[in-house]
């Protein structure tokens, strides 16, 4: 399978590349790159408007990609899938279009302390504009959500409960179905940030019981700039347009316009056609491996890495000790995350150092930042051994 990812087979600063920054973005298999090439070499045209052959092919491939995404996340209909640039744009769409209409002054938007800035800042902007209030489910010391506080926080004033499926810096896997059920019981709409889960484990919107689900293609083998928003049909129907422009209208006069039904209502302008096609190719590739198999490989690597980390002195690992995603945030005594990340890079090891778009969470743990290793199905235990050697060397170098 490594041969599907030619990028992995290279030296960086004179050492074999070990790519452990998969929570930031994953590498793309040949099948995805080939799908893009094939589209641009044979079928490229604009969608939904040309009356010529290439436009028909492009439209067909684009809409087939939508159906593929719907099937992948268990949506009942392709009409529930809006193509976006990724998780961030998906959440902003919900905040501005749905939130702009349905959230009123004094309403509460419930989030958690572990949200990525992309599932925090859009709600801050909305709350500021509307006069709504933000509330947060606290994070326990072990990196799990303080669910004992949920009943107290999830009151009828809560209009929306938005939370992440898998934390991008703690690796925590949240109990999405349980959270959605509790939110529904008080009449709150739910949004799940599936950026770190969609490419790593089975995700089924009906089983999870969420109203919205957002994810990015680039964190699951697809091109950057591809992604989707799932919205339950009834809620998406009630949501007014977001961006205005071509493609999303039925008829336009100088004074006013009427708009298409979802999902096209939310896709103004020429979409990222190749991105959607690449996303469908990535889904084919991932399903070829099997998401359960990916989740098992993630778990095996994570547990192996945790065991090996235990050998290192002065190591503090964030997040739960039990079941978790393939994301390990850690701090090493005497070595700042940025020095460590620079050191590792010079050994060919790609880690991420910093706040991981989680400034409030870092503050919660009293840390300026962490170093993060995040794995995917193409990573190996031998690469983890290599990381451990490099970390040992870094401690000797800096301490």
């Amino acid at each position: 399978m490594r041969e599907d990812f030619p990028i992995l087979d290279q030296n960086v600063h004179g050492h074999p590349l070990v790519y452990f920054d998969n929570a930031a973005t994953t590498q793309k298999p040949r099948a995805v790159v080939e799908a893009l090439r094939s589209y641009y070499e044979h079928d490229n045209a604009n969608v939904h408007r040309g009356l010529h052959e290439l436009s028909s092919r492009a439209t067909e491939a684009y809409e087939a990609a939508r159906a593929r995404v719907a099937q992948y996340i268990g949506a009942t209909s392709a009409d529930e899938i809006v193509f976006t640039r990724g998780t961030t744009e998906s959440i902003n769409l919900v905040a501005q279009a749905w939130g702009g209409k349905f959230v009123r002054a004094g309403d509460v938007i419930l989030l958690t302390e572990m949200e990525h800035h992309s599932n925090l800042v859009p709600w801050q902007i909305l709350a500021e504009r509307i006069g709504a209030r933000l509330r947060f489910v606290p994070v326990r010391d072990d990196g799990t959500l303080g669910l004992e506080r949920l009943d107290q926080l999830l009151t009828p004033e809560v209009k929306l409960f938005a939370f992440t499926h898998v934390s991008n810096s703690l690796g925590t896997i949240n109990p999405v179905a349980e959270l959605c059920a509790k939110a529904r019981a008080v009449g709150a709409v739910t949004l799940v940030d599936a950026a770190q889960s969609a490419g790593h484990m089975p995700v089924n919107v009906v089983e999870l019981g969420c109203d919205f689900l957002a994810f990015s293609g680039h964190k699951m083998c697809a091109p950057t700039g591809s992604g989707a928003l799932y919205g339950r049909a009834e809620i998406l129907d009630a949501t007014p347009p977001w961006h205005g422009g071509g493609e999303m209208i039925v008829s336009v006069t100088l004074e006013k316009s009427s708009f298409k039904k979802p999902p096209h209502r939310f896709e103004a302008g020429t979409p990222n056609i190749a991105g959607a096609i690449g996303l469908a190719a990535a889904i084919d590739y991932l399903e070829g491996i099997g998401r359960s198999a990916i989740a098992e490989h993630d778990a095996r690597l994570t547990s192996y890495a945790l065991d090996r980390f235990a050998d290192l002195p002065g190591m503090r690992i964030l997040g739960p000790s039990g079941e978790r995603g393939a994301i390990l945030g850690f701090v090493m005594e005497g070595v700042h995350p940025h020095d460590l990340t620079t050191f590792a890079d010079q050994r060919g090891l790609a880690l991420r150092g910093g706040h991981h778009c989680n400034q409030p969470l870092m503050r919660r743990f009293g840390l300026p930042g962490t170093t993060r290793a995040s794995f995917y199905f193409y990573n190996t235990t031998a690469e983890i051994d290599r990381m451990i050697d490099i970390l040992r060397e870094a401690v000797r170098f800096f301490a």
Binding site: H13, T342, R347, F398
Partner: protein, 173 residues
Amino acid sequence: MSTELEELYQEVILDHSRRPRNFGTLPNADVLVHGDNPACGDEIHLGVHFSPDGKLEEIKFSGQGCAISQASASMMTLKLKGKTRAEAVDLSRAFHDLVTGSFAESSETASDRDLSRRSLGEGGKPKLGDLQFLQGVRKFPQRVKCAMLAWRAVEQALAQNAGEASVTTEAES
């Protein structure tokens, strides 16, 4: 050991980061500047006491950050003690040029790498002395902010003259 790493983390730099000089609070500070680098969480609290004739008589810092930001701050305090405002401003400019590589790129030949013997005093340029050990930062553009944090704070202290201020390496709107 890769050459770039050795150039970035010279022993002098590691020594300053492990045992920063002039680290602590300055009770008689005329100006206190809180500096931060939100992109990486580095923080510095810089205190400066000016002499009656306007020189930087005492300068101390505290805070936390990577080896580069700590070493840069430590070496800066040694360099700036006793300097006039104008000298401090010139040094800050010269240091910025050094770490961004916009200074004397052409002179960076193998023989020039012996930094301890290299003088920047010619042509009216202020002498950076030990600060030249931070030259390796220019190969790591994402670390320039780490090296500049303390200097941004001291520039603010000079502009401010008295009282307290904050400064950040990220421009906010």
